[in-house]
Amino acid sequence: MSEFILEVKNLNVELAGEQVLEDLSFDLREKEILVILGPNGAGKSVLLRTLLGLHLFKGEVSWEENTHIGYVPEEFTVSKNLPLSVKEFFNFKEAESSEISQSLKWVGMKISPRFLEKRLGTLSSGQLRRTLIAWALVDEPDVILLDEPMVGIDIHGRKTIYDSLVEFWQKKNQTIILVSHEIGEVCKKADKILALNKRKLFYGKPEEVITPQNLAKIYGSSISL
């Protein structure tokens, strides 16, 4: 068995005097895909940001040394007026043109030189989401944390993107943590599922934990995949 790339023990997070996460423990090995499920306001995004070192916490969050992390935030808007081209956005990461087109291809974008010259703020919300995911992929981090990555992308697009992303992740030996408020395509590809609503609801392999009883814990009524 490979070593843990991430270990979380007894994690507690308090924001503005309110307990947002309570006593969470879980771990992750290399190449694993962890999907974090939970209703809106369950603290999923806070958990991601805490793992990224953006919030204060009590407990233990330990990443394997020198882990290079990529992040796709849930909220990302660009003013239409900002003269920033897609290519320049990728240049923030000093990416080569070939790397840019490659990673855009992984998220299902047909790219032309004209697309790279477009202003980032003029992309449609779906295009912007895909571009943001490609941006996270472009320097091939060891771990990628994605917060509701498919918001704004239609249901047909999602499956294709997930298929190609999972292929990409496996090829590059990447570890993935993905937050979603709905149970969907990606749960089938997950190695582990963590469901939470401030505290842990259930945690384990999808085939073991995705049961109508467990799903009712998240959504209040029984659903099946």
Binding site: L54, F76, P83, R119
Partner: protein, 255 residues
């Protein structure tokens, strides 16, 4: 060509260029009026420098440092919005300056006087401008990224707090330098107007930031030329040239 004219030309080219470049970042961060306010905060320092005959930029810089510290202190104590506190400090500065600013120096303090620039002044302005430009170029893309998403920037290892501090320091130094060219009343325009014009004309960040730099230079050169040829004060004509370029840019605005 006389030496004095050459000095004013060199100083205004360097300061105007960097001020324009800095302005492109300030507009993006919605801090365009900060340059204007700081120009006023520096006024007592300018007044003292004119009375006692020392470097105007040095006087300005001392009072800018005091002003920024004061705004910061008020913010910690009152939690009032920063812009309200800035408003208090900059108007108080203007009031204080007019307590002792000699009548004969009013126009120099308010709209600048490049005819008084010496060799040492020129050298220090050029060196400081180049340093500020290099620093800004280094932090530019990271500041833009932090402006898009601070969390994303932090994850990419950008030390947002440190960068903001460096950026504010750059603004203070450029304002102190620019006051020589345009005076404290008009300094704000030197950072805003060239960048606003460039924004209208550009498709990407490169065109935007370097466009602002070039428009800043053009404005300053034409102001100095008008001073040389017609004898009008350079400061107002620097700003009016920039404004004219801005108006022309409206016609060509990229959608």
């Amino acid at each position: 060509m006389d030496l004095q004219f050459l000095y004013s030309l060199i100083v205004s080219v360097f300061i105007g260029g960097v001020a324009g470049y800095l302005g492109s970042l300030m507009i993006t961060k919605r801090m365009a009026l900060v340059g204007d306010a700081l120009g006023h905060v520096a006024l007592p320092g300018v007044a003292l420098a004119l009375i006692y005959g020392f470097n105007v930029s040095l006087g300005a810089l001392i009072f800018l440092a005091l002003g920024i510290l004061l705004i910061w202190f008020f913010e910690v104590r009152t939690k009032l919005p920063m812009e309200a506190l800035t408003g208090i400090v900059f108007t108080a500065s203007v009031a204080i300056a007019f307590l002792f600013l000699p009548e004969t120096e009013v126009s120099t303090a308010l709209i600048g006087d490049i005819s008084q620039i010496g060799s040492w002044d020129t050298l220090s302005s050029v060196i400081l401008s180049v340093i500020i430009f290099l620093v800004l170029r280094k932090i530019f893309s990271k500041m833009i990224l932090a402006n898009l998403s601070e969390n994303l920037a932090r994850v990419e290892g950008v030390k947002v707090g440190t960068y903001n501090f460096i950026y504010l320091l750059c603004i203070a130094i450029i304002v102190a330098l620019g006051i020589k060219v345009t005076g404290s009343l008009l300094m704000g325009a030197l950072v805003i107007t060239p960048a606003a014009a460039a924004r209208n004309l550009s498709r990407n960040l490169f065109q935007y930031s370097y466009g602002a730099l070039i428009i800043g230079i053009i404005s300053c050169v034409s102001g100095v030329l008008i001073f040389k040829i017609f004898g009008f004060s350079a400061g107002p004509f620097v700003i009016l040239t920039a404004t004219l370029i801005f108006l022309i840019s409206l016609i060509f605005k990229k959608r």
